[in-house]
Amino acid sequence: MAQGVKVEDLSVIFGSRKQREAAIEMLDDYKPDEIREKTGATVAVKRINLEIEENELFVIVGLSGSGKSSLIRTLNLLNRPATGDVKVGGRSLMDMTKKELRYFRRNDVAMVFQHFGLLSHRTVLGNVEYPLEVQGIEDKERRQRSMEAIELVGLDGWEHHMPNQLSGGMRQRVGLARALTNDPELLLMDEPYSALDPLIRREMQNELLKLEDTMDRTIVFITHDMNEAFRMGDRIALMKDAEIVQLGKPEEFFANPANQYVKDFIADVDKTRILKVRNIMSKLKSVAKLGDDRKETLDFLKENEMDFIYVTDEKRIFLGFLKIEDLQKSKAQKIDNLVHKDETKIYRNLYLQDAWEKLNESTYNLPVVDGKGRLRGVLDYDIVVDALAK
């Protein structure tokens, strides 16, 4: 099960202990520049609050020096916050003992680095095995799980090569495979594709989206490239001078840019090619499950003034929908036989350009599914028109 992340009043300050203490005092009244001038300490992150949901692909974007890297590195405590706390799955990282922190890093979180951070003295396989090796997992299982991860990123056949024999893109695949072996609930990616050339970068982005689509995992992704941010992110936080300037879904940036800085930042982004179904779909407030009681479902619909409701099975695979008329007419105990099997659904990673046609053919709002057919949300015709009109 993936886990949400909660960042509370988080600051990261670099400098000697004295400088940091002085900087904390000044934090609320001065800008980072002024604090650096007066104390010598660098305020990289300043009192940030944010919440990242389970299974979300959350992108933090900003120019270099905006504090985005410092922020992501607190999520596995590579940076220790000067103020505030980080909670992953409800557990406070600052309260952890050394042992608990080690356990957390071994099992629940993994990181992909901008310059890969590969162990150059080990083969691809040796690198991918490392997270399992430090846990003391025995050879056979270790090998098997590592090979699965290597196949997942498409590096099978290369497992016995050394990192210095690989191209940049392949090296970052090794980095990703290594981060996936311990099956982390939280995956941190610190500018993973910035060091790659544009063609490879696009390819890697698509691969990551494909991977992300089929797994339950919260991903925090750092980039300085707005196009990349919009292409990848469910939600995006734009950082400047140690603070978040704007946080929201991609289309919200276009709809209501918080200030001139945001406007400039998104000026040369082509939104029809970047906005995806997932970016502007609405979350479903409620879903009926196969085997639910007919009467209860009916009451629920009436109570919430709904005409119909989507139906999934236990694994959230989308099946169809229920109409309120049918529920009223029927005398069945369960809802199972009343479900309208409906094949019109839309894949959430489609770009809006391509989704438009399908949306035009349908009279209803469209259910949105992921690569495994699980129901993820609903696409509202009006919202699409709104998003494209702006």
Binding site: N76, L78, L101, R102, Y103, F104, R105, R106, N107, V109, A110, M111, F113, Q114, H115, F116, G117, L118, L119, S120, H121, R122, Y130, P131, E133, V134, Q135, M162, P163, N164, Q165, S167, G168, R178, N182, L188
Partner: protein, 296 residues
């Protein structure tokens, strides 16, 4: 007035202090208190040196040539292998084979001890600011002190001539570069690699043995190389306290003014140094996994 002039021009005698005396006293004190321990030390190390020497003498001369040839071929190319093997053969041709093996035995033991002592010291220096601050000036001092100076206390401490004081003096003299380069190697490991190790929950020991030492291996090998070169230099000087080997041949030639013999023995040492240097440098280069091998 005259007195004052004198004070300015010459260093005033009443400010001099004889530092030789307390040092002598300390050596005497060590000699008295640790006599038995030192005697045991001498016995143990004589034994170790003898065994190493036995092993080295057990390998026939052509064994060394073949070993060297294949090792060099693996590290470099055939032409280098031919040159180095020929140099080794020349040592035999000049008639210094046995003496060179004796010298080599002392070098091997000294470098091994340096490695055993130097590696943990270098690591602790990289890990602790305090150790670093204390050791850095000491290492500087050790490296600038004239090498002869180590011979006298070595002699007195072990109360014997020959190989054990030579190993002792050589070890102390040759130790600094190994410590320094181990320290350098560990502190220079790519920060992101160390962070990757941390982010996957390595314990400090796992970090050291699975990441830092392997990553620093090339630099450490360069340290072993430098230490070995210094050991070669010291072992020759150690002939002055009766250490057997090529150094003694050089010393004898100098004492009897035999120019030819002196150069012949000198060449043997030079060849040995070249061979060891090439081998260890090649090893260091092989261990450097961070180098690129053909990009994208």
């Amino acid at each position: 007035m005259f007195k004052l002039m004198n004070f300015i021009l010459e260093f005033p005698e009443r400010f001099t202090y004889d530092i030789a005396k307390p040092i002598d006293a300390m050596v005497d004190w060590i000699d008295k208190v640790f006599r038995e321990a030192l005697d045991v030390f001498v016995i143990v190390f004589t034994f170790i040196i003898n065994r190493v020497q036995d092993v080295l003498f057990f390998i026939p001369w052509w064994g060394y040539v073949i070993l060297l040839f294949f090792a060099t071929m693996k590290l470099y190319k055939v032409s280098t292998a031919i040159v180095l093997s020929s140099l080794l053969l020349l040592i035999g041709v000049f008639g210094f084979w046995d003496a060179t093996i004796r010298t080599f035995a002392i070098i091997v033991v000294s470098v091994l001890i340096c490695f055993i002592i130097g590696l943990p010291i270098g690591i602790s220096m990289a890990k602790s600011r305090r150790v670093e601050m204390v050791l850095k000036p000491i290492l500087d001092g050790m490296q600038t002190l004239p090498s002869f100076v180590y011979l006298i206390p070595a002699l007195m401490l072990f109360n014997t001539f020959g190989r054990v004081p030579a190993v002792f003096a050589t070890t102390i003299y040759a130790l600094p570069p190994l410590i320094r380069l181990t320290y350098l190697g560990i502190t220079n490991v790519d920060e992101q690699v160390v962070e990757a190790g941390t982010s996957f929950g390595s314990t400090p020991m796992q970090m050291l043995f699975k990441i830092e030492i392997p990553q620093a291996m090339s630099t450490i090998a360069a340290g072993v190389n430098q230490t070995t070169m210094m050991a070669v230099a010291m072992v020759v000087i150690a002939a002055m306290i009766g250490t057997p080997g090529v150094g003694r041949d050089v010393l004898r030639a100098v004492e009897t003014l035999q120019v030819g013999d002196g150069f012949a023995a000198g060449f043997a040492i030079v060849f040995l140094a070249i061979i060891l240097d090439r081998l260890l440098q090649g090893l260091a280069a092989k261990l450097d996994t961070t180098a690129q091998e053909g990009e994208e």
